[in-house]
Amino acid sequence: MPTITEKIICTTCPKGCTLEVTRDGKTVISILNGCKRGHEYAQQELTDPRRMVATTVSVKGGVHPLMPVYTSAPFPKPRIPELLKLLRTVELAAPVALDQPVLQNVLGTGIDVHASREMKRI
């Protein structure tokens, strides 16, 4: 299997070091630059990249037509389009409480989606 060397920008801290990662498929062979946390980040990015996802869902009966929502933990990056598609079908009804669960164990990931704010019924 041919080895690949690529650059990854670490986002663990604001420094934003550029790590040089040499890998064989998903197995990391070496990482240049970065600290311990950076190496953990690079490993994670390669094998199971995740992102916090924040977006909005429709809500009826509130002061605005949209309710901001966010994932309770970083979400698997490849499945974010699926998540967004699912969230498009959600329609909440005011009143909504802060951190109210909107979806639980989304797509079997064990991660929930919560309401970012309270929205009263008008």
Partner: protein, 489 residues
Amino acid sequence: MKSYDVIIIGGGVIGCMTARSLSRYDLSVLLIEKEADIGMGASSANSAIVHAGHDPVPGTLKAEMNRLANPMWDQLSAELGIPFKRTGAYIVTIDEPCGCLDALQERARQNGVPAEMISAEEMKKREPRVNPATAGALFTPTAGMVDPFAACLAPLENAVMNGVTVLTETAFVDFIKEGNKILGIKTTRGDFACRWVVNAAGLYSDEVMHKAGVRTEFKINPRKGEYYVLDKSEIQIDNILFPVPTEVSKGILVLGSTHGNVLVGPNSQTTPEKDNRAVTQDGLAEIWAGSQRLVPSITPRSIIAVFAGLRATGNAHAINVDYSHDFVIEIPKEVQGLVNLAGIESPGLTSAPAIAQRVVELLKDAGEKLVEKKNFHPIRPARPRFNHLTHAEQAELVTRDPRYGRMICRCESITEGEIVAEIHAPLPARTYDAIKRRTWLGTGRCLGSFDMPRVVNILSQELGVSPLEITKKGAGSEFLVRLTKDMEA
């Protein structure tokens, strides 16, 4: 087919003033305008000056109309509620050769316009920001600043109050003739019969007259002029400053405005396109250099807006004088039923009330029996402007109508009450830019970034349509494309 006595083509300042003058008489009048709002051409993109009249070549129609019109503005602005300030104007010398103002003063005298020389010291006293290297100036006390858009809106609203019909988004297509007699016009919204057509089509006045076979050699060669608007909280100049003029143009000015902003510009660039009002890097650089010559302390940090206008420069010869860009104000003999107004560039705005008056005189001379209406209302009441009131007056206004309590444009202090009033006015504002022209909303330091979503909502509510249909300046300029949650295929 609907029938009118007079149809005016064009809702710029000339058409609007003419409509108002004609509305005094027992005539049925229609004004058609091709854009979504009136005054969207040169009438709202100019220096906003009522010129003293020293500048036009003596003996031309430009000189005559300017001289006749200038004194009319006091009464007109009072009757119609048009913001107007007779500040006077200065033609400022910096390092031009001595005596360069003499010719101008002589021309002012020939045009019957008061003009006095003032010393460098006096100039600096009157305008402390002027270039300290100034060698003095020529002061023309009868010049003034005017709100150019109000100069269109107010007379036309008064005309509508007095029975004139206005159709926007209606473009002239052709004349309906029988032999050389005009029977009516074809437009993009149908045909209309009439006895007289007034050509006030500005940039397109050549195309209109050619359809009647009039002045085939006449051509409009648009000249673009670009302007900067400066932040009124950074710089205030309550004067009109001209440089010494060149052959081609009055030069790059620095002046205050009825809105309180300083305006700098225009340059002069011939362009073949009648709809190219793009602002250019080179143009802005030129204006910058010119304005700093007059007022060195102007800095780019103060710029809050830029715009360009197109002058309807014609090629008509003056009747008795060697000058080839004069106004056309005539009833041509080639056809029956046309009042032809063309080549109305500067001092067009200034001259508008006199040109409108001349139209009435031309019609009378042509045998029209003009009977004055008994119930003509000359007064068009100005609508309340929150930011012009004292706190006590503001409190009273808000108590009367709470919508005046809701501030929509923070930078210029324009309230919901004012916006709603313009949406339901005799010449209704239906687009964002229409409201902007009428209220000066969205022209302040944040350039609309706060008020835009709110104005879209108010327009949507008051017009009873979805926010998706609200436009900046007519069809094709919608702000929004879809709901966030509507995904397209």
